[in-house]
């Protein structure tokens, strides 16, 4: 049996982005001893990339805004597939979550009367996004990070130890959730710096690992986004919900190649930027779908009037939800009206003075100047869709963020499914991770307390299996198992696995590139049945090859080894995306089928669940379930005519209270 360091905690949070840190703060404040494990340094999480803002109906910029309006916008954006109770809690609690950030030191941009300024964003009826220039994510992560440090300072003052109640294990990766029977008992992890394994024993584990974008070639996501939490949940026996819904942000950089995919914030459009094709036409007017016809301007004049007088003008179509804009750009490029490097033009230079651009969009100005030699105050940007966010995720209980079927497992933020339905509105991600991060931390802490006297036990066999799994790549590497196995046992098991897999080590970087190309080309923004079949057979081959992945060197800070271990997760999650996408024979939100282009009312209340059929071979089992009907008082927030576009006649008759 390998000798592995073990520690006892009440709650373990996996991931230190916005959701993870908010969960950790809540759990610690409710008295749970809480450990946070993150792959990067503390404070570097992908949340820093969020630019636009945090959506919350505080009504600072428009007094008419209410949680009901926010709820309505969220459901429209998600095409009514949202887990409606989550959307309701989210809209109700977001303002409190923003305000409390101020008490922890956050400094948002201000209105004239000294309140938090709010900006316009796609799909939001009123200016709703609390922001700090275009670096809101950084402000959020720094505020939460500093709140954690403040709590550690309190603990230090009381006990002399900063980390006795709340500890960050930075640059560590969790490879398995451990279980005692059906219940969570802890996590198995390795320290990236030393390569050493360790186990944190805890009755409650919160997964807050973010998304899956690194399975796609063109993405705005960082290296951390390898679907770890999604895969950990699957392997622990929890199902994933609606994985076919992947958001392609309409505006990523397209040139030069090395920055392809890096995000261009939606604030560019929210603040007045427009999209044009190679003929100079503002093409978004041609792409307003029927369900949104009444809400969007029909002429440039009307659209331009909206920025100063929203009461008497309809919104510019550039501010349609992201799925609509991404598809429109894709269609323009396909029709031969794209920009020189295969995107379209996004222009602010003719829309506002250079000085205003530099003040309102400082990061964008900087980013284009530094990385593309483009001065956005003088010329248009070239932009195109980039894989940005996964709406699908771990199926959770709306109130408690508990994962289905695995007591002690919780999920919050991007890794959790349901909240955003088939498409997320900009700004709803940062509010989501605050609202449900807090709820996950709260319920995980309560659950852990309820088990104080009968804490689940950690099983040595599971630890041995997890060690062997993590060491396998070394046994196949050029230098064999000797270097890899230093420090801990497990080499024998690993060597055995190698023999079983058959010779010929695979390079993890090559496999990763092939996976990204497969997902990009075959399960991307526009999907077809034949291509998804092809993707599934390629994924099966990649999975088989991944069993033979080998790495060189030793375990100390070895990126090749880290990638080899992340591949398991990316392959599992990619298969879920491809299977669910093949199953859903309609187009809705972040899932567009060329062979089934219409949104079908019969599909609106159907969830697709992916579970692991057989943990040994990693096969995915897909099931359908019907969602519970939307509560009548929530349906009453919409016009009947609008509902008729989404709900079946039966649902309409049964649902409305009036």
């Amino acid at each position: 049996m390998p000798v592995v360091d073990r520690q006892e905690w009440d709650v373990v949070v996996v991931g230190a982005g916005g959701a993870g840190l908010r969960a950790a703060i809540e759990a610690r404040e409710r008295g749970a001893r809480t450990a946070v494990i993150c792959k990067s340094l503390f404070g570097k999480a992908h949340t820093v990339m969020a630019e636009g803002g945090i959506a919350a109906a505080m009504a600072n910029a428009n007094e008419h805004d209410t949680w009901q309006t926010h709820f309505r916008d969220t459901l429209r954006g998600g095409k009514f597939l949202n887990q409606w109770r989550m959307a309701e809690l989210h809209a109700q609690e977001a303002p409190q979550r923003v305000w409390e950030l101020e008490t922890w030191g956050a400094l948002f941009d201000r209105t004239k009367d000294g309140r938090i300024s709010q900006r316009n964003f796609g799909g939001h009826e009123y200016p709703r996004l609390a922001h700090v220039g275009d670096r809101t994510g950084l402000e959020l992560i720094r505020t939460l990070q500093q709140r954690i440090v403040a709590l550690q300072q309190e603990d230090h003052a009381r006990t002399g130890d900063h980390e006795c109640e709340l500890k960050i294990f930075q640059e560590c990766t969790v490879t398995r959730v451990l279980k005692d029977g059906s219940r969570v008992s802890g996590v198995f992890a390795y320290d990236r710096e030393t390569g050493r394994f360790f186990v944190l024993r805890a009755p409650a584990v919160v997964l807050a690992t973010g998304g899956i974008g690194k399975s796609f070639k063109v993405t705005s996501n960082s290296w951390e986004y390898t679907g770890d939490g999604h895969a950990l949940a699957l392997l622990a026996g929890a199902p994933l919900l609606n994985m076919e819904f992947v958001q392609f942000h309409p505006t990523g950089m397209v040139w030069p190649p090395s920055v392809k995919g890096i995000l261009v914030t939606e604030s560019v459009r929210g603040d007045g930027g427009v999209l044009r094709n190679s003929e100079g036409r503002r093409f978004m007017f041609d792409y307003v779908p029927d369900v949104f016809k009444e809400k969007y301007a029909e002429s440039e004049q009307e659209a331009d009037g909206w920025y100063d007088d929203p009461e008497h003008h309809r919104r510019p179509p550039e501010l349609l939800p992201r799925d609509e804009v991404a598809r429109a750009i894709n269609a323009e490029v396909k029709a031969g009206r794209g920009s020189p490097h295969g995107g379209v033009f996004l222009d602010v230079s003719t829309r506002m003075p250079a000085e205003v651009i530099r003040r309102r969009l400082p990061s964008m100005y900087h980013q284009f100047k530094e990385l593309a030699d483009v001065d956005i105050t003088a010329e248009p940007m070239e932009v195109g869709p980039t894989c940005h966010y996964v709406m699908g995720g771990i199926a959770v209980d709306s109130e408690t963020a508990a994962a289905r079927g695995v007591p002690g497992l919780y999920a919050a933020g991007e890794v959790a499914g349901g909240m955003h339905g088939s498409n997320r509105l900009g700004g709803n991600s940062l509010s989501d991770l605050l609202v449900f991060g807090r709820r996950a931390g709260w319920h995980a802490a309560e659950y852990a307390r309820s088990l104080a006297r009968e804490r689940p036990r950690v099983d040595d066999e599971q630890i041995g299996a997890a060690s062997a799994e993590a060491l396998r790549p070394f046994a196949l590497g050029a230098e064999g198992g000797v270097a890899g196995a230093t420090g801990t046992a497990g080499a024998a098991e690993a060597a055995g696995a190698v023999e079983a897999a058959g010779g010929g080590a695979e390079n993890p970087y090559t496999l990763h590139q092939e996976l990204q190309q497969t997902m990009n080309d075959l399960v991307g923004i526009i999907r077809r049945a034949g291509e998804m079949e092809q993707a599934l057979s390629r994924l099966a081959k990649l999975r088989e090859r991944a069993g033979r992945v080998g790495v060189e060197g030793h375990r100390q800070f070895n990126p090749g080894w880290h990638l080899a271990l992340d591949l398991r997760n990316m392959l599992l999650v990619s298969e879920c995306v491809a299977r669910a996408a093949r199953e859903r024979t309609e187009s809705r939100g972040g899932h567009t089928r060329e062979d089934f282009p219409a949104m079908e009312r019969e599909w609106r209340n159907v969830n697709l669940l992916c579970a692991l059929a057989d943990p040994a071979v990693g096969r995915i089992r897909l099931t359908r379930e019907t969602t519970p009907p939307i509560r009548p008082d929530l349906l009453d927030l919409f016009d009947k005519e609008e509902l008729a576009k989404y709900l079946t006649d039966e649902e309409l008759e049964g649902g409305l209270s009036r």
């Binding site: 403040a150 960082s222 190649p257 990385l371 800070f557």
Partner: protein, 256 residues
């Protein structure tokens, strides 16, 4: 512009020691130094250790020294170098090496813990905060910091003086004190905490002799010396020393 073969020298090793290794590697149009490091990993040195995350200049992970200058690898374009030039990448010098380009930056996290947090005003409930843009501008400038620690690396007080690390928080964290001190609603003073005094007595503000090295390397363009450190020094002086010094500093600042 077509691709070309560039010559690179990358420091490889660990706390036991190491040295520069030579590589010849393909470079394409628009690429940054981090792209080249990734290409080295994928084709020639799969276990080359490097820290990175967003690759867009927003997270501050990929700090290193390129031809001796502290920079973010993701924001250093290859086009700034002559094609014939050998590009040398070494780890941050002020921090202990873990492996290759990865250093132990825990010094910074320890210093962060030493700075008392924002003190919320007791009389204001969440949602009741009112602050004007012009009053938060200055602290917001400091909150642009992405914690890449290039300023900490370049600051001569600690760069080659390990012995000063205990007493000196470094530009990043002195700027954090300044940020809190200039926060319009920070109630530290009412709670008995004098941030100006602690900057001087606990965080080593006096070590800084405003050479502006930190400002020069800041990838966010924050004017650390002019806007954070000098004003903090002036406020500390106002607070701490005798009336004559206080008067002197005021007189000197008068336009002549």
């Amino acid at each position: 512009m077509s691709g070309y073969e560039a010559r690179f020298r990358v420091w490889r090793g660990d706390e036991q020691g190491g040295g520069l290794r030579d590589f010849t590697v393909e470079v394409n149009e628009g690429e940054v130094v981090l792209d080249i490091v990734h290409r080295l990993q994928a084709t020639q040195a799969p276990d080359l250790a490097v820290r990175w995350n967003c690759k867009a200049g927003k997270c501050g992970s990929c700090s290193a020294e390129i031809n001796g200058r502290p920079r973010l690898m993701c924001m250093t374009r290859m086009s700034v170098f002559d094609r014939a030039e050998t590009v040398t990448i070494t780890p941050l010098r002020a921090f202990p090496v873990i492996r290759d380009l990865v250093t132990d930056v825990s010094f910074n996290y320890e210093k962060a813990r030493g700075i008392p947090a924002f003190v919320p005003p007791a009389e204001l409930a969440p949602g009741e905060y009112r602050m004007f843009q012009e009053d938060v501008d200055r602290s917001q400038e400091f909150r642009k910091c992405i914690e890449c620690f290039l300023c900490q690396d370049t600051c001569h007080v600690v760069r080659d003086h390990e012995e000063n690390k205990r007493a000196f928080a470094g530009p990043r964290f002195l700027m954090r004190v300044a940020e809190l001190d200039m926060h319009p609603l920070d109630a530290a003073e009412r709670s008995g905490l004098d941030r100006k005094r602690t900057a001087q007595e606990e965080h080593g503000l006096g070590y800084c002799n405003i050479t502006k090295c930190c400002t020069e390397v800041c990838p966010e363009g924050i004017r650390i010396t002019d806007n954070a450190l000098i004003p903090l020094k002036e406020r500390a002086v106002d607070r701490k020393y005798d009336p004559l010094v206080w008067l002197g500093s005021k007189i000197r600042r008068r336009p002549s």
